[in-house]
Amino acid sequence: MTRADIVGIQTITRKETHRIFRIWIQTILPSVMTQTLYFIIFGGLIGSRLGNVGGTSYIAFLVPGLVMMSAITNSFSNVVSSFFGAKFQKSIEEILVSPMKPWAMLTGYLSGGVVRGVVVGFAVFLVSAFFTPMHIAHPFSFFYFLLITCVIFSAFGFFNGMFAKKFDDVGLIPTFVLTPLTYLGGVFYSITLLPPFWRTVSYANPIVYMIDGFRYGFSDISSAPVLTNAIILLLVAAVAIAIDLHLLKKGFGLRS
């Protein structure tokens, strides 16, 4: 890695971060608003009538799932919208004609996604303090699962951005893949409550490992071995990044 590579990565990251905070009403506020409503309705109103889940109150069970849900959707949508926007306006050519290496370009865009995922995740986490006492049982797991999740969904967003040819293509994956997988990934319920067949099916969903691992970091509750979760997600991240990098090197959708 050369000094020029570092400057290039810093430039894209700075540009992306600046964009996130410049249009914070679009990038940060909506998730915080939505998750606040979840806290009020599911955590406060409905949750208060439910018993404990996994040895904790329902709202305390809900917090890590909702933080993760925000991190997932925001890291994904930041990269896909920013990258596709640059393709659509052709401003991506600024980078393509430069000597910037594909891996440095990818790192810059993924960093932007991670920044937004983490910022929104923390904002939701802070809001949760109004509903349930804040507590982080295992800080390392808390940060590891938050970061690796943001990296993975930033990489998925980049992949979507490369394939997208029109604005409709940007919305397809979030609507038909991301949202169902997130809702079925254990945000609102513990996987252990499912019948054995559906529990087995659920383990094919990578979001289950993310939420489960993060929940362990947050409140010491886990339905699967944490180390296994961590390793699986590391592998998923490595594969997603390798695919992005391969397509980027080939100039897929970028160089004719």
Binding site: D5, K15, S91, I95, S98, S256
Partner: protein, 243 residues
Amino acid sequence: MSIALSINNLEKTYATGTKALKGVSFNVEEGELFALLGANGAGKTTLIGILTGLVKKTGGTATVFGIDLDKEPEKVRSMIGVVPQEFNFSIWEKVIDIVVDAAGYYGIPKKIATPRAEQILKELGLWEKRNATSRTLSGGMKRRLLIARALVHQPKLLLLDEPSAGVDVELRREMWLFVQKLNAEGTTIILTTHYLEEAERLCKNVVLIKEGVIAEQGNIKELMAKTGAQSLEDFYLSVNKRV
């Protein structure tokens, strides 16, 4: 004089089957202000796209200041500045940010890029607009912004793809002076334009591409004398009418 750009038998066939370049070869000497002419669809922008990495060639070789495009594409790109035909900057960003960020992609840190951007924007009359978003600029200002962005990393070879398209006469004349100044300072410049008066006034040598092949190349004055043309435009029309 050393060779700034050497192109040998360059070919490009798009996935659709369109043959944009069919074995183009020419050299540009260091320090030249060189004209690359041809009708719409002749292959000029494809050629520029290949040099800048936006288009993948399907045959031939290209070297920039002796560096092979195939072997060291990043090093080649670091020596080139490009002013594209179309506006291709983010419409939401400020003028100063567009120029400083462009430098960052070339590995130039912000603290070095910022004073450079200031100097270029002042020279191009855009300093007052530095904090305006690019979408609020006039057409002429947008063209100048493209030039500023292309120069911030101090390229040795500048590719100007129709830089004066849609620009009024006064601004075009100002642009000519700026381009001549850059060239006098040592930047090798390749200019594509549909304003043949522009090419005749600014350039010494020319390559005329027609349907992906070189129809004519050489010294502009000598080519005009050879055919008895009164102007580059007459010469251009006579070549393009040839079957």
